[in-house]
Symmetry: C2
Subunit: 472 residues, 2 copies
């Protein structure tokens, strides 16, 4: 191993091969569920160096764990406990290589922090629409490796939909130069999308060409009270029809989720909180290419129709940006309010939008029968069919004991229900090391067989992130 | 072989195994460049039957050529000359399985004709936005297998972007049931996008779940004269900014292309034809979620700004639907007018939008030096960076002789120029059997190596469409 470390030092420079001191930031996952031990953390500064590192590791038979901001939620970017894996950190490769305004694209290195990318786009007068809670720390390479979602998927899609081309280092240490800014290219298999979402198991993304969008002239936010989840789904259809591609956000929140915000952040004014005629509230965002006045008029036309149809019982439209931020802030405070209330069992699931009301009704009932008094913190990106369907201990229960004793059973019940409704047990967060078993249980054996054949074909030595996504 | 034919008859019924009579529709490609000979044309009526046919062929070592409407332009869906391949026609599998309005999705079988799918969507009040010249004959399975483009890619993307899930029969005759209507699903590798665009070489698409969109309230078309291609690119940027996602079409046409329309279809009124201050015209389409009045006001605001900036010298906005159709009809008549003028050498290329003016200037000059008097029929989907950059014989030349003598040299010059500008030599039409050599020449060896590893991994017997995309 000393040989390999010497070679790595020769490639990236000794100060960029970390073997001592506190490596927690590289060895522990974001949610502190797992702590591994790396042979070394290697920080290359160029694609050439990444390729050289991979080749040296391949010769030595040492596996690599690619890592961006290490903010993933499925333990996919930290080393195992063996002390034999190299963590390959892309953080030093953070340049914005080229912003092409006329082509509406930007080419960036994998280690570029999402927020830096958003800012570079904005400075040039464009929008880069990927936005998520970890944007100050996560990197675009990690976003691509996990196909991250976020708050504007209903309009702009997941990270996959924002990418036009990739530069990738293969498990053999070759460089595939595919950072094309082309919007049409039918020359062979779609290697780009195969790499995206493969969580560093098929190749190491070193750079990417991403789409830019025109900056909207105005963004307006509304908050509506709906008599049921069914009505929320109908409201979504109306919003698509009235706002077209202006609809950039559609979030649903159950009253129990909102009550936790009211309880733990009493300074926050939550519209229609506790309104018994409205078990759910919806946050809508309208991004308009024309003007704030036009955005407001469209919202008003939508709300008028929604009232008429009985889809909403009440609504407010933010008067200004401050109010808009306040409404989003309520939505974003739900996870924190949950944490204040005590640990809970989290799920990141998706179901066809049309089937969500039936799924929630039947799964709520199932859980109540299994654990009387259990509380459902139900909220999420209804526009994408993506719910954070979280299960909290009964009001008088001990949340730590609840998590310890009930997590496996609750997960079983919820994931079986998701499967019954044709949904996905991991809508946004991926598989990592955390959900390898669940993938084996819930994915079709035919799909798993194809995945294994692809992994074997591209990485026969199983050198890239072994044991993640698929069992080693 | 009699054994195999008997087995196939037992699976799909004797009337659905064609071996005699005129099989031209199955054996000859759309543009009549190639005529093969099939062992049999097999027409299964269900996914189960497709799987059984594949297994029977695999045991016999007989390869299969999947076929939809057989309208492809790269000879990808007809058998070779050996008389030993089975053509698997999906045309009988043409059902619309389920249209889910609230989820804005439709699940259809592969053999459903594109126009039938458009009509089913429209009947339910939704838009299925894929639209291309062959829509009356091509099938959605073929559109997916080739990742077809069309006229509205600038807003809705290619076929890939419209697909949420697939049902696929593998080369081993297994069924992967993946017709999910989920907009978010991060559970493993992106097998869907790997299958899309693989031209029937990795699996047989038997059904798909496609996205629907709200029907626009109004669609308006404009026609503008621009002083240069550079100005057309600037106009595109303004159109994105002023119309946002309302911009559903942006086509550019050179004056020589338009002059052919004027010459061969004198009844057609072509705005700004022959205007010497405007070497190019642009057709813009604005799809508005509000009203025709609003669409018109937005177009006027855009045109005012474009005049001010000197991007356009003149413009007309269609007064009504008839005028809009007339403007589109001019654009769509260019290929016919070309054919009237005589054979030419066609290219379906893409370049980053920002680099198109420089590409055209340098490649025009290159071709003029090589073949003095050569005429360039330049038009295409500028919004997607996709040009139909076609090369016509000098005015006094014999077009047949030109095609025979110059095609290889002209292709060489054009494709090398495309490569120099980082473009693609096949933007929309794919590889098929026609461009296997060009793929080997222009694709990165690393990408080709990954493609071969994937093909070997998924289809080790090389039973699906051998020799297409990759050499057998």
């Amino acid at each position: 191993m000393t040989d390999l470390l010497d070679q790595l030092r020769a490639i990236v420079g000794a100060p960029n091969v970390l073997t001592e001191g506190d490596l927690t930031a590289y060895e522990q996952d974001w949610r502190k569920r797992d702590r591994g031990k790396a042979l070394a953390v290697v920080r290359p500064g160029s694609t050439r160096q990444v390729a050289d590192v991979v080749r040296a590791c391949a010769v030595a038979g040492t596996s690599l764990v690619p890592q961006g901001g290490n903010t993933g939620l499925a333990v996919g970017s930290t080393p195992d406990a063996s002390g034999e894996q190299v963590v390959l950190s892309l953080q030093r490769m953070n340049a914005v290589r080229e912003l092409d305004g006329a082509n509406m694209t930007v080419t960036v290195e994998a280690g570029c922090v999402l927020q830096s990318l958003q800012e570079a786009a904005e400075k040039a007068g464009y929008l880069f629409p990927l936005s998520l809670a970890a944007e100050g720390s996560c990197t675009i390479g990690g976003n691509l490796a996990t196909n991250a979602g976020g708050t504007q998927v209903v309009r702009y899609g997941n990270t996959r939909d924002l990418c036009l081309g990739l530069e990738v280092v293969t498990p053999q240490g070759e460089i595939w130069e595919g950072t094309s800014g082309l919007r049409k290219d039918n020359t062979g298999y779609d290697l780009r999308d195969l790499m995206i979402g493969s969580e560093g198991t098929l190749g190491i993304i070193t750079a990417a060409t991403m789409k830019l969008y025109p900056m909207p002239a105005a963004q307006l936010t509304a908050w509506a009270a709906v008599p049921s989840l069914d009505h929320a789904v109908t409201l979504l259809g109306l919003a698509h029809q009235y706002l077209g591609a202006g609809l950039t956000g559609f979030e649903v929140m159950g009253q129990f989720a909102l009550s936790l915000v009211v309880k733990h952040f009493p300074a926050m004014r939550v519209p229609f909180a506790g309104d018994e005629s409205a078990p759910y509230c919806v946050l809508l965002e309208n991004s308009d290419s024309e003007s704030e006045g036009h955005a407001r008029a469209r919202f008003e036309a939508l709300m008028e129709k929604a009232f008429e149809d009985g889809c909403i019982t009440d609504a407010v439209v933010a008067e200004n940006l401050t109010q808009a931020h306040q409404l989003w802030h309520i939505r974003e405070s739900i996870p924190l309010a949950q944490a204040e209330e005590g640990l809970n069992i989290k799920h990141d699931i998706s179901i066809a939008v049309s089937r969500i009301p039936a799924f929630v009704a039947s799964t709520d009932a199932l859980l109540q029968r299994a654990i009387p008094g259990v509380r459902l913190v139900n909220f999420g990106h209804l526009g994408d069919g993506n719910l954070h369907y979280n299960v909290q201990a009964p009001a008088d229960g001990d949340s730590k004991a609840f998590l310890r004793d009930e997590e496996a059973r609750v997960n079983g019940l919820v994931y079986d229900a998701v499967a019954k409704f044709g949904g996905s047990f991991s809508a946004e967060h991926g598989i990592g090391a955390l959900k390898v078993d669940k993938l084996e249980k819930h994915k079709s054996p035919v799909a798993l067989g194809m995945m294994r054949a692809i992994k074997r074909g591209l990485d026969p030595q199983n050198i890239l992130n072994p044991g993640r996504v698929l069992r080693a």
